[in-house]
């Protein structure tokens, strides 16, 4: 649906993007993560036709964004950076303005759109009187106006309260699933992205470091607590069975996917008293840090609890 192939972009002397590639499939919510200045917004600008790449190709539903710009952009709904509106127009007039920017789009059910994003009865107000959260909702309504096949949202939860974020999360997942839309969300809120995305790409200094499934088992760990005197025997048995393991706070930490739990239990139970066996998955933040190996930059990310 959305395919980014080896795009590179230089702005002035700085190489902003280097050989960036990833794909977003229909029905998938794809997180696009990276610290500030990593190249997220530049990538989104290229996808939405605001910038032209120096090399590489972006296709939307098979249409090249550069060669078949009009056809490609008709398939995209987007919020780039922040949702900008004409403050002296009402919410509805802003949506009419957006409708007029899509060639051939005739009828739009504005009331249904307003209901969808929780702005019922608010479209007749001037946007200048809207809160940031209302503008975000209106931005999403505008992005969805023409039933796009690809939805691109740059930091869509900015200004939304926790219940608004939860609603949006639920709505986006439902929309991706039911309408088979490919959704690309850029954000620096890692815990939030963990809850909303199916897969994610991490970009850092213009390079895609990793493309993973959020529920991937890469880096998953299994923690064991056994009777103290058997610890050495268990570690040796794990080493022989090729399970990388180490001691940490009286626990044996094994780097292995969850699916290995039964095998590990079978290995340990004959030689030790097994008091505890737990699976520790890496959070998205831990996965990010593991990929970028830049703990010092972790301040660039925010967390929602």
């Amino acid at each position: 649906m959305l395919k980014i192939e080896n795009i590179s972009k230089r702005l002035g002397k700085e190489q902003i993007l280097k050989d960036v590639s990833f794909e977003v499939s229909p029905g998938e919510v794809f997180g696009f993560l990276g610290p500030n200045g990593a190249g997220k917004t530049t990538t989104i600008r290229i996808i939405t036709g605001l910038l032209e790449q120096d090399a590489g190709k972006v296709t939307v539903n098979g249409f090249d964004v550069v060669e078949e710009r009009s056809k490609a952009l008709t398939q995209i709904g987007a919020i780039v950076e922040n949702p900008a509106f004409y403050p002296y127009l009402t919410g509805k007039q802003n949506l009419i303005h957006a409708k007029n920017l899509i060639p051939g789009l005739d009828q739009v059910d504005y009331d249904a759109l307003a209901r969808l994003v929780g702005l019922e009865g608010k479209l007749s107000k001037k946007v200048g009187e809207y809160s940031l959260g209302m503008k975000q909702r209106l931005g999403i309504a505008r992005a969805l106006l023409h039933n796009p096949r690809v939805l691109i949202l740059d930091e869509p939860t900015n200004g939304l309260d926790p219940s608004g974020i939860a609603e949006l999360r639920e709505y986006l997942r439902q929309m991706a699933r039911e309408q088979d839309i490919a959704i690309l969300i850029s954000s620096h809120m890692l815990s939030e992205m963990e809850q909303i995305s199916d897969r994610y790409a991490i970009i850092d200094q213009g390079v895609i470091k990793s493309v993973e499934s959020v529920r991937n088992e890469t880096g998953a760990k299994i923690a064991l607590r056994v009777n103290k005197e058997a610890t050495t025997d268990v570690l040796e048995a794990l080493r022989v069975a090729n399970y990388p393991s180490e001691m940490l706070d009286e626990q044996i930490i094994i780097t292995a996917p969850e699916s290995e739990c039964p095998a590990i239990a079978r290995l340990v139970v004959p030689i030790a008293d097994l008091h505890e066996l737990t699976v520790k998955r890496l959070t998205l933040e831990e996965q990010f840090l593991q990929v970028t190996k830049k703990e010092g930059d972790s301040h660039a990310f925010a967390h929602t609890k």
Binding site: T48, G49, A84, F85, N100
Partner: protein, 247 residues
């Protein structure tokens, strides 16, 4: 393209200043009638018509700078330019929609002014000289040139104030310099485009009649000179708008 022009109209018409400006034209036209009547100024119909038309088209020139500057400047002020450029329409189409809209609202105001002034002229009984369609039409040259120039400056600067400031400065400063040169060095003055925006100087009976003769120019020279500048401003605007990043 039509839907883009509709958008521009919606953004213009909802503002209070669109209506205020129209009201201002009426107030000035009616005000001049009242002043003439109460002060025994001996206007005939054509005298009122041509004088009031000159005043109001002069005002239209300034208003045109403001409205045209806002057509692009407001998109930058509200950060909405990116939404226009993300649309399936090409940059060329977007620029043309803004250019055509700027010309249309100028013409809309011009027709409004002509109707108001023509109606106001009936307050005076004497017919005087016949009202010339030609003299009315040449009043359009300045506002049309102003639109191309303002749009060009609108692509160079990001603030509406700067766009208006530079356009007004360019127009009035060079017109003043041209006026001085006209008396001292008329052969240099003729190379200033602002000296060629009032084509009535080639028609007998107008205030500026004979200026062309002083500069040694003809109507054809003025028409071609203004057209050449419009082409350069238009071409420059297209080139800048195609390349400029608004993100």
């Amino acid at each position: 393209m039509l839907s883009l022009i509709q958008n521009e109209w919606m953004k213009w018409w909802v503002t209070k200043k669109a209506k205020i400006v129209l009201a201002l034209y009426v107030v000035i036209a009616v005000g001049l009638v009242v002043i003439a009547k109460t002060n025994d100024i001996s206007f005939d119909r054509s005298g009122y018509y041509s004088n009031t038309l000159t005043i109001l088209t002069g005002l239209l020139g300034i208003i045109t700078i403001v409205f045209t500057a806002e057509v692009i400047g407001n998109e930058i002020r509200y950060d909405t330019m990116k939404h226009l450029l993300m649309s399936p329409y090409s940059r060329m189409t977007i620029y043309f929609s803004k250019l055509i809209f700027s010309i249309l609202i100028m013409l809309f105001q011009f027709v409004f002014i002509v109707v108001v002034v023509y109606a106001g002229s009936f307050a005076f009984s004497e017919a005087g000289d016949p009202l010339l369609f030609r003299d009315t039409i040449v009043e359009l040259v300045n506002p049309i040139f102003t639109i191309f120039m303002t749009l060009f400056f609108a692509l160079l600067f990001r603030s509406v104030g700067m766009i208006i400031g530079f356009t007004v400065l360019a127009q009035f400063f060079t017109a003043i310099v041209g006026g001085i040169l006209l008396t001292l060095k008329p052969e240099i003055a003729k190379w200033i485009v602002f000296m060629h925006l009032d084509w009535s100087m080639y028609f007998k009976g107008t205030a500026g009649y004979g200026m062309g003769e002083v500069m040694g120019t003809s109507l054809t020279f003025s028409v071609l000179f203004v057209l050449a500048h419009i082409i350069v401003l238009f071409g420059g605007s297209i080139l800048i708008f195609q390349k400029k990043s608004y993100t």
